[in-house]
């Protein structure tokens, strides 16, 4: 049995869905003791969800030394203190933009091993699987026995598995000081839609074949019908049709959705690096020799301007609302 602390990433008071896979990873084969660490107050809905997914304890992390959301330095110190106090064997979190940042700060501060972007985890063996060379290879890494280690799990890489338990809630009050060297000044919501690309269950992505910013509107409509997010290839971003925040691939985001629909994307190795762990990949391309057809699940050699609207229409007619 291992004692595992999971840093829960909240979004406006709600537990982000992607955390549930991390909780499943934390439980392992069932007998691990799972602590959900929440910065600040944990609302009832969040508590219920964490409890449903096997968190035996919820630890509300608090401090009077400053605003945790405004100081990454302070948050890491406070969590580091909690990790030490509880004596976790393992600290887990999401390998999202925020999660990577937080885990790296904690690991650096505590000088403990850290592996980010893990797609597999065996807590009993202390073995993790993560990508190397942007997904061209997989590395199996053995974490040292004894002492604490930290792992960030790629969003959606591990399936959530509900396992309701009785949950106790407690508060951890930290006395750690903020070194006062950095502060979050502003958070500006992006135009990227409600669903975060890296955590989306479904991604509709466009490449050179989309032909312009207009074409991306069409993909947005399709993504909306699928309740997914829109991504772009580097070619489309370089052409200025989509912002860099939407880029999927080696110099962009790594995504692991249930379904990835590549529209007008030829499928470079760099692009595959960012999406190859999707459960199902669909390619729509007019070029029958496009490399993407060689490495995906379903291929449609067709004009995306005909297929995508047809798809959107059929989805809308079947989905209520």
């Amino acid at each position: 049995m291992a004692k595992v602390g999971v840093c829960i990433e909240m979004d406006r008071g709600e537990v982000k869905r992607a955390n549930l896979g991390v909780l499943a990873a934390a439980r392992g084969d069932g007998d691990n003791e799972v602590y959900a660490l929440v910065s600040g107050r944990c609302e009832d809905r969040a508590k219920a969800l964490l409890s449903e997914h096997g968190a035996r304890k919820i630890v509300e992390i608090s401090t009077e030394k400053g605003d945790l959301a405004a100081s990454p330095d302070l948050e890491a110190r406070v969590l580091g203190e909690a990790v030490k106090r509880y004596g976790f064997d393992l600290v887990l979190g999401l390998s999202s933009a925020r999660g990577k940042d937080l885990l790296a700060r904690i690991a650096a501060l505590m000088n403990i091993p850290l592996t980010l972007d893990c797609i597999g985890l065996d807590i009993r063996e202390r073995m993790v699987v993560k990508s190397h060379f942007s997904g061209k290879a997989l590395a199996r890494i053995k974490l040292p026995a004894g002492g604490c280690a930290a792992c960030g799990i790629r969003p959606n890489a591990i399936e959530p598995a509900p396992a309701p338990v009785e949950t106790e809630v407690e508060t951890f009050r930290s006395s750690a000081d903020d070194p006062g060297r950095m502060a979050v000044k502003e958070i500006r919501q992006g135009a990227g839609g409600e669903i975060d690309l890296t955590e989306a269950d479904i991604v509709v992505a466009g490449g050179r074949g989309v032909g312009g910013a207009e074409g991306f509107r069409m993909l947005e409509a399709c993504a909306e019908a699928l309740r997914g997010a829109v991504g772009a290839s580097r070619a489309a971003v370089d052409a200025g049709w989509a912002p860099h925040s939407m880029q999927v691939g080696q110099t962009g985001k790594t995504v692991s959705p249930r379904l990835y629909i590549a529209c007008g994307i030829s499928g470079s190795v760099q692009h595959f690096a960012g999406m190859k762990t999707a459960k199902a990949i669909v390619a729509i391309n007019t070029d029958k020799d496009a490399p993407i057809f060689g490495k995906c699940d379903y291929g449609l050699q067709a004009d995306l301007f005909e297929v995508v609207p047809a798809l959107t229409e059929k989805l809308k007619s079947r989905l209520p609302g």
């Binding site: 958070i187 839609g193 925040s245 379903y298």
Partner: protein
């Protein structure tokens, strides 16, 4: 301004990676400066230019061949380099950061340290955090915008869904660069020639008193080629028919809808 830029020598992103001997790979492929480090180098040069004075020192921990990554930074305008040599391509981030911290501290007093947000080979994403911790400096990563005024730095980083967070840090600090930060310049041929005359200090990792493989570090036990998908199952018919079939397959066969 004393600016340090940490760079890594890595296989080109277009290279095919062939796994050899369980934990190694065919290193005869083309190597380049880690793509994210190019943004780090460029930003360092821009800061030096803005300040009108200062020195940009490029530091790399790597195999002797990593000299070429240093040379390419010198070719675009960095002033001098330091290469800490080891015989391993895969070095634990804790080891690399320890070496970087020691060599930078030995060399001078940094005002700013730039790195890439991650290397594209081992994708550890943490060396700059450990470096910052070792030097007791603030750090930010995924930095896509950078401004400096009155001894303070403001960086912007993307935190998902296109949402941007701006963070103010005091100097000195460590900045992990990502794509979008700037447009790296290309070297001129004459500068490439001149770069060969610039000074690069070389030393071995052990000379710094750093163990390449300390006990208690995570151990790479296997490197495997990632499983590839096979050829696509091509759907036939008119676009409408294809759309119909696709939804059918996604629902009933792949079960992803």
């Amino acid at each position: 301004m004393q600016i340090y830029v940490c760079v890594k020598h890595v296989p080109d992103t277009a290279a095919t990676i062939r796994v050899i001997g369980g934990t190694g790979f065919d290193e005869s492929v083309k190597f380049v400066m880690n793509p994210y480090d190019e943004y780090a180098v460029e930003q360092a040069l821009r800061v030096r230019q803005q300040q009108g004075t200062g020195e940009v020192v490029v530091v790399s921990v790597g195999k002797p061949a990593a000299m070429s990554a240093i040379r390419s930074a010198l070719a675009v305008g960095a002033d001098r380099g330091i290469l800490v040599k080891t015989d391993r391509q895969f070095l634990d981030s804790a080891v690399t950061s320890q070496a970087l911290a020691k060599v930078i501290r030995q060399d001078g007093a940094p005002d700013l340290i730039f790195t890439g947000k991650q290397s594209v080979d081992t994708e550890g994403m943490q060396t700059h955090f450990r470096l910052a911790a070792a030097l007791d400096l603030p750090v930010a990563t995924d930095v896509a915008a950078f401004t400096m005024t009155d001894g303070k730095v403001v960086v912007e980083r993307e935190i998902g869904g296109g949402t941007r967070e701006s963070i103010e840090m005091t100097l000195p600090c460590v900045v992990g660069a990502t794509r979008g930060l700037n447009e790296p310049r290309y070297p001129k041929l004459s500068d490439i020639m001149k770069a060969r005359k610039k000074q690069v200090r070389e030393m071995d990792l052990e000379e710094l008193g750093v163990q390449p493989a300390p006990s208690g570090a995570p151990e790479l036990v296997a490197l495997e080629a990632a499983p590839e998908r096979g050829e696509a199952r091509m759907l036939l018919g008119t676009p409408r028919e294809m759309a119909e079939q696709l939804l059918e397959h996604l629902r009933n066969e792949a079960k992803v809808l």
